[in-house]
Symmetry: C2
Subunit: 245 residues, 2 copies
DNA sequence: ATTCATCTATCGAACGTTCGTCCGATATTG
DNA sequence: CAATATCGGACGAACGTTCGATAGATGAAT
């Protein structure tokens, strides 16, 4: 398959996933409005969601370039087109802004991941889908993923603990699938949690080093397949075990 | 081997590496003084290096907890015991401080890594040593590694480019070893740069998620062996290829 | 041995700027 | 006209940075 065709197929796969998973900036911001409505003084939902999307979008863009701490609300006002005072109709403080984005991002990611995995039965298929969904989802919501990773330290202690717990829960999704595969003999016997941690590290590299992968012509779907192959080879039963089973 | 014994051996391996590699906070700060002496107005080398070490140590500690941008020079003064004015005898600006730490860290890491790898001959041994050296070195200089990763965005454009180049050079060390192994048939034929990138992602996880690994009782030497096994299995020639060679 | 002048390293108050936040005024809408 | 959404100037706090003062060490002269 020539590269051009491969790239088009990869783009198709991403488009299909985006539609099926039903995640988008607007959708996430609607969830924020529904849940943190008391922090938003704007009554009209259409207006509120649209402005929230602009605020979140700008926050992610600026914070991912120079860090959330270095982003001033004047930066944010300029980029969103709102005024300083206008911004405060949508959050109570700068700290609350980071907390809201963190919480809603975590929740949605975990939700989508579980929903996708649960569409498959065998451990092999579930692991492949978990990998694929993670890469494609982090491609669609890349700024959001990067923000979750890089700006968790700006959270208060309680919310920070929550963020760590949520991340380990994601890792546990992978570990559980690996244990299933070990139980039915399709994966070799090794520390499932450690294997999950290594897979997760590779998956995170996709969005944390986006520039590098892009420069090398890697696509999201292609990267997912590479990680699936890594998992397959790492977890493949050794020949002797295959015989004894 | 019972865990307690394994942990002691792992600690021994780390101690030996620290001595052989000859890296330490004081040594790195001596290098900073030697190279950026014109930025340091203090003449007495003993005093200068000792204070530089306290400044760098405090900077890494504070910045890794709440981010370099959120660290004020008043925080730094309190932690080092120096005054605001006193700090400025050791660097010209806050921006220069981050740049100096970045540059010196990059240089030393690359140097040690190459020196360690060059002590071995076969591709297998060189890859294992590259992995081992990376994990152990990042264990010794963990705050420094974390700072390099998390605070690269505070650099100016030119120095930022330099940081990216240096990181890709580290990755290229791994890629080159993999290509050597592919040439002599000890590794299977696959994209060497992509394989190196995935290995690097797993290696970075060691210092970026230090708390998690610690909680799970993982040691540096133990983690190195786990990554070596990952590499071995991922790069192992497939049975058919073994036969045809 | 003591004095005094010089140099060195450090200090901390002060400066101008920018920050997050607030609030009375204004524009828009039904 | 009432309700809503947005505006932008103003405020105190905190920021990075500067600089004249100071304490301690050093060394030459008495």
């Amino acid at each position: 398959m020539v590269p051009a065709v491969a790239n088009r197929r990869a783009a198709d796969e991403l488009r299909v996933f985006r539609r099926d998973a039903g995640v988008s900036m607007t959708e996430l911001c609607r969830a924020i409005y529904a849940e943190h409505g008391d922090s938003v003084s704007v009554q009209n939902e259409t207006i509120a969601v649209a402005n929230l999307a602009r605020i979140v979008d700008a926050t992610l863009a600026i914070a991912n370039r120079k860090g959330f701490a270095a982003m001033s609300l004047r930066d944010l006002a300029r980029r969103t087109g709102l005024s300083l005072g206008g911004l405060y109709a949508y959050f109570q403080s700068k700290d609350e802004l980071v907390a809201v984005i963190q919480r809603q991002g975590q929740r949605q990611i975990e939700q989508v991941l579980r929903r996708q995995v649960d569409q498959h039965v065998t451990a092999r298929a579930r692991l492949d889908e978990a990998i694929r969904a993670h890469v494609l989802l982090s491609e669609i919501l890349r700024p959001w993923f990067v923000f979750l990773y890089m700006e968790a330290r700006h959270l208060g202690q309680a919310e920070r603990r929550q963020a760590v717990a949520m991340e380990e829960a994601t890792e546990e999704i992978f570990a559980a699938i690996i244990r299933e595969g070990q139980a039915d003999g399709s994966f070799r016997d090794t520390d499932a949690l450690a294997a999950a941690a290594m897979l997760k590290a590779v998956l995170q590299d996709w969005y944390l080093k986006h520039g590098k992968h892009g420069r090398r012509g890697q696509t999201a779907a292609g990267y997912a397949r590479a990680v699936q192959e890594l998992a397959t080879r790492y977890l493949a039963p050794t020949p002797m075990e295959e015989i004894t089973v």
